[in-house]
């Protein structure tokens, strides 16, 4: 009985390590080198009880014009991505099947609606597909997070292209944040400079 419990416990510990190890291997040793894209972004600063303080990012673009397709809420879709003339990431197309060519990211579909954010100039006849890109958290030291939030808010109020998320996009559609840059400088460095 003792041996069975011992084996079961060791298997449990291995199971506990399996997911983090799998993640580390997938990120650090991918079959193909990931491609780095630069996404415009805004931010707010919340707290996760287990993982600490982070800056919630709102990577853009989070919509494409309505192409007549119908997707259910929360559907897992493939977003084909590319770069615009400024070298910033764009989403070109949503699809329920994995694209055969080009880079793509797996996103969660939200809804189709009018873009009410621009209230005064909202075109009621033009609808968009809204979706969530799978990278919205940038973890930070507890003391730095409020400062970072303020810095990001100050910068993005004027122009969202001043706050750039460098994202590694892997060939299986997964993506992780590589760096958060403000005015072309990595966030931590930017905050250090700001203090001086």
């Amino acid at each position: 009985m003792k041996t069975i419990r011992l084996i079961a416990f060791i298997l449990t510990i291995i199971a506990g390590m399996a997911y983090p190890i799998f993640k580390i291997i997938r990120i650090e040793y991918p079959a193909h080198e990931p491609v780095v894209y630069r996404f415009r972004s805004g931010a707010v600063d919340p707290y996760d009880p287990f993982r600490g303080r982070y800056v919630t990012l709102r990577p853009l673009p989070d919509r494409i014009p309505d192409d007549g397709a119908i997707y259910p809420y929360n559907a897992r879709l493939y977003a084909s991505i590319g770069n615009d003339s400024d070298g910033l990431a764009t989403v070109q197309k949503l699809s329920t099947v994995q694209p055969e060519n080009g880079d793509f990211i797996i996103v969660k579909y939200r809804n189709k609606r009018v873009d009410w954010e621009n209230r005064e100039n909202a075109d009621k006849n033009k609808k968009y597909h809204f979706f969530n890109l799978p990278f919205s958290r940038y973890y930070l030291n507890e003391k730095l997070a409020p400062e970072a939030e303020k810095a990001v808010a100050d910068v993005t109020r004027a122009d969202t292209s001043d706050c750039i998320l460098k994202v590694k996009v892997y060939d299986d559609g997964h993506a992780i944040i590589d760096e958060l840059e403000i005015k072309g400088i990595p966030l931590l460095e930017y905050l250090k400079n700001r203090r001086k």
Binding site: L6, A8, T12, I13, D48, P49, F50, R51, Y139
Partner: protein, 419 residues
């Protein structure tokens, strides 16, 4: 095998000299009883044993929470490879601690601590890796992973502290739409809790299992999503806890060790008073049908072993409530039906209380009838004066009825003694 009542044994040991003195017991029999029960008491699990178990689990929990907070601080001044290395340390240390506990067959304090620290180790590792790589993901998916991979700790260490954490953590999954997956999470700790309810386990273990069944059942009710479905779930679980509470009361389990009885009674009373307001026909959910069906089946089993009018009346009341909620759409009619059932149940409890000279049953019935009278007749239509008179009348009725019943019980006991 009946549950051992250690308090009764202590009382009996104190009584033995008196019984001997009054020649109720012979010297030899008294000595044999004395030896037998002292041995039983010596082997009894002491409250200190459980207290020290609770304290060691609490200590381990604090260590675990400290680890999580250290992680949450975010040590971004260290290089990534260092942080990844550090992330594994708590779980590796917990693994060593756990292996030592199992290999040396350590007692329950070590087992509790091992389970809690191992869980904290998994939480720390997963959190740190998510933090280092800025991984997305909701608290729900995080808890789902943690509960899934650490669940074996419950059975490996038979840990009550882990069971408590699991029953809290499971509520993070409630927002998910995947009812059957959540149902599986609900089912997995059940064998452990049911095992602790079997005859022969200590009072502390079985009381613990009874308490933990309450939040687990609440989780299942929350999973039903629609208010009208949840009302059916609440009715079925109230019936189950009421008959189960009665079942354990017949075996000498009362007070705080038997929360099912009060929980079930409260559920039945509130549903019959107000629950009819959420009526909306028969549920079309297969999940609700399975959950309600199983809990009703368990209620019937509890009510029939051994058969008892009080237990059966609680189950019948809830079945009738469900029938009313499923078939009657007219508001006035369903309220009269439900209140009629409550009146019948309250009256039955009063009668049972008087017949069996059980003051708690009597007062439970009185309270049900009084609440019904208040809800039915003391609404805003009555002015303050009449409401005051009504309150006082009910209060006086309570006091007088209790005095009369207490006297009856005392007289009966005196008659029994004089016989």
């Amino acid at each position: 095998m009946s549950r051992k009542n250690y308090k009764f044994m202590e009382w009996l040991l104190n009584e033995l000299p008196v019984l001997r003195e009054k020649s109720v017991l012979e010297q030899e029999a008294s000595e044999r009883l004395d030896v037998y029960y002292r041995k039983q008491l010596a082997e009894a699990p002491s409250p200190q044993k459980y207290l020290s178990g609770v304290l060691s689990a609490f200590g381990a929990l604090l260590i675990g929470l400290g680890l999580v907070l250290l992680v949450a601080f975010n040590w971004d001044m260290l290089p990534k490879i260092w942080r990844l290395g550090i992330a594994f340390l708590p779980l590796l240390a917990a693994a060593g601690f756990g292996i030592f506990t199992i290999a040396k067959d350590k007692d329950h304090r070590w087992r509790e601590a091992s389970a809690v620290i191992s869980m904290a180790g998994v939480v720390t590792l997963t959190s740190l890796v998510s933090q280092i790589y800025h991984l997305d993901g909701t608290l729900e998916s995080f808890m789902r992973l943690i509960l899934l991979v650490t669940l074996p700790l419950l059975y490996i260490f038979r840990s009550y502290a882990y069971a408590i954490m699991y029953c809290i953590g499971i509520f993070f999954l409630a927002r998910s739409d995947n009812q059957w997956l959540n149902f599986a999470y609900f089912m997995v700790p059940l064998p452990f809790l049911i095992w602790n309810l079997r005859p022969g386990t200590s009072n502390y273990q079985s009381a613990f299992a009874r308490w933990l069944m309450l939040p687990l059942s609440l989780f299942l009710i929350i999973l039903m999503k629609k208010q009208s479905d949840a009302i059916f779930g609440l009715a079925a679980f109230s019936a189950m806890f009421y008959s189960g509470g009665m079942f354990f009361r017949e075996r000498g389990v009362s007070g705080l060790r038997n929360p099912w009885l009060f929980g079930g009674w409260l559920g039945i009373t509130l549903l019959l008073l107000f629950g009819w307001g959420a009526r909306s026909g028969i549920s079309d959910s297969y999940f609700v049908a399975v959950a309600v069906g199983i809990s009703l089946l368990i209620s019937i089993v509890f009510a029939c072993i051994p058969r008892n009018v009080e237990k059966i009346s609680g189950v019948i009341a809830m079945v009738l409530f469900m029938v009313c909620a499923a078939t009657i759409s007219e508001k006035q009619l369903i309220s009269w039906f439900c209140h009629g059932i409550l009146l019948a149940l309250g009256t039955a409890n009063i009668i049972q209380g008087v017949r069996r000279r059980r003051i708690i049953s009597f007062n439970a019935g009185m309270l049900q009838v009084a609440l019904l009278a208040y809800v039915r007749f003391f609404s805003d239509d009555f002015d303050l004066f009449w409401r005051a008179i009504g309150f006082m009348t009910i209060g006086v009725a309570f006091v007088v009825a209790n005095i009369i019943l207490s006297r009856k019980i005392r007289n009966y006991n005196e008659e029994e003694v004089s016989k």
